[in-house]
C-alpha cells in the first residue's frame, strides 16, 4: 500500500456495502480499537423492517457506540452510525445528518452513491470511504466524487468478496484507490485513528 495515499487526518470514515458485506463488517468490528477518534458511517443495502438488527449485531462486537442515525443528529467522533433502511443518508455542512425519502438510486435506498457524494463534499480530503462486497453498481459514482474532493478510496479486494461485482466495478473505474483484503481492514482503520 502506498503510504502517500493515506491522508494525514481522517475526519470521517464511510463504509458502503451490499450483498456479502455483513460478513466483512462482522469480521472488522471485534478488532476495532475503542480509541477510534472519527465517526464511522455505515450504508448497506437491506430490507426495511428489521431496523435494529444490524445495529445490535455490530454493537455486540465493539466497545464503540453503535446507533442508527436519527435525522438532524450531530455527527460525533468515536460513534458508529448506521443508515436507516429505506432512506437516503445525507450529511450537512454543520456536521449533522439529514434523511431523504426520494427516488431510489441504483435500485437502492439508502444508496451508497448518495452518501459517499454527500460526505465527499463535507469532509473533502479528510474523508475515507470503503466499498465492500456487493452485486450491483452502487458506490462507484460516489467514489468518483470522493476522489474529486481529495478523499481516499478504499476497495475491498474483489477476490476476498463474497460478491465481487461491486468492488470490481470500483477497481475498474476509480483510478486512485487502495485495494485491501477483508482480513486487513480492521488493522487499517485502527491505524487511521493513530495518525
Amino acid at each position: 500500500m502506498e503510504e502517500t495515499l493515506i491522508p494525514k487526518k481522517c475526519s470521517a470514515l464511510v463504509i458502503g456495502g451490499s450483498a456479502g458485506s455483513l460478513d466483512v463488517l462482522l469480521e472488522i468490528f471485534p478488532a476495532l480499537d475503542k480509541e477510534i477518534n472519527f465517526p464511522i458511517i455505515i450504508v448497506t443495502h437491506r430490507k426495511p423492517g428489521n431496523d435494529s438488527l444490524l445495529t445490535d449485531l455490530l454493537q455486540n462486537r465493539t466497545q464503540l457506540k453503535v446507533k442508527e442515525v436519527e435525522e438532524k443528529e450531530k455527527i460525533l467522533p468515536g460513534t458508529v452510525y448506521i443508515a436507516p433502511a429505506d432512506y437516503h443518508l445525507l450529511l450537512e455542512h454543520n456536521k449533522t445528518f439529514s434523511l431523504d425519502y426520494s427516488e431510489k438510486v441504483n435500485y437502492s435506498r439508502p444508496s451508497i452513491d448518495v452518501t459517499f457524494q454527500s460526505a465527499a463534499e463535507i469532509f473533502a480530503s479528510e474523508l475515507i470511504c470503503i466499498l465492500l462486497s456487493g452485486s450491483n453498481n452502487d458506490g462507484v459514482e460516489g467514489l468518483k466524487a470522493v476522489n474529486n474532493f481529495g478523499g481516499l478510496v478504499v476497495i475491498q479486494n474483489p477476490n476476498t468478496a463474497i460478491m465481487p461485482y461491486m468492488p470490481q466495478q470500483a477497481v475498474i473505474n476509480i483510478k486512485k484507490n487502495v485495494i485491501l483484503d477483508a482480513f486487513y481492514m480492521a488493522d487499517f482503520i485502527n491505524k487511521l485513528a493513530k495518525r
Binding site: 436519527e70 435525522e71 438532524k72 436507516p84 432512506y87 445525507l90 450529511l91 450537512e92 455542512h93 439529514s98 434523511l99 431523504d100 425519502y101 426520494s102 427516488e103 438510486v105 452513491d113 448518495v114 457524494q117 454527500s118 463534499e121 459514482e141 460516489g142 468518483k144 466524487a145 474529486n148
Partner: protein, 272 residues
Amino acid sequence: MIGDVIDNEQVETLLNDVLEAHGYDFLEYSHASIKRRISRLYALDNFVSFAEFRYTVKTDKQYFKRFLEEITVNVTEMFRDPSFYKALRNEILPTLGTYPFIRIWVAGCSTGEEAYSLAIVLKELSLLNKSLIYATDINPSVLEKAKKGIFPLNYLKSYSENYLQSGGLKDFSTYYSANYSLAKFDETLSGKMIFSTHNLVSDHSFNEFQLILCRNVLIYFDKDLQHKVFQLFDNSLEQLGYLALGSKESLDFWPKAKQYKRIRTEKIWRKL
C-alpha cells in the same frame, strides 16, 4: 448520477430568486437534500449554464411549475410502516370514534396514498361517514393526482401486503377497480377528502383537528423550520388530539414537547 454541478452559493441565489419571484420559501429546507434536488433537475433538463437555469426558474412560470414538482420529493406508498397503521386502527381511531365528528389533516399528502389508506381504515372501523380528511400539499400537481385516486397497478401487490400487515381485514382488491395498468380507488373514500394546497412554511392554521398526520415531510426542513411547523400544528390541534410524524421524525427537541405524550414506540404524540 449527478456530480457537483451547482455550488452552495448558487443554491442560495436560486432559492432567494424563487422566494422573491414566486413567493415560495425553501431557504430553511435541509441544505444537502435541496441541493441534491436542484443539481438533479439542472442535470436532467440539460441546462448549459447556471445563469440560464436561474433565468428560466425566475421568469418562466411554466418552468417554475416543473421546478416545484421536482424540487419537492413526492415519493409515497399506501400503508407505509404497517405498524403505524396498526396503531391507528387499534388505538387512535377508536378513541376518536367517540367524538361526534372526526376532522383529520394529512399535511404533505403528496399523491394521496396515505389519505386513501387512512380512509380505508376509517371505513373498516365504520367511522368514515363521520370523518373528514383534509389533505394538503405545497405542490398542486400531486393534489390533482390525489383527487383522482388512481395509482399504478404494479404497486398494488406491495400495498396489499402492507395493508394485511397493518391488520387489514378484507380482500384489498375490493377497494379498487383495475383497468389496464391502473387501479382506481373507490369514490366513497375520496368522497370524504378535501384537497387543497397549503404551504407549511408560510400558510396559517385553517381549522382544528383531532388528528394531524405529517409524515416524511419534516425530514426536509431544518430544525428551526421544524419547530415553526410544530407550532402551526399545535395551533391546529384540539386538546387530546394526536400528531403523527414519519418513522424517523421526532417531536423530542421541540421546547413544547412536554405538553405532548408519546404513544408507546410509535411516532404518535397526544396533546395534553
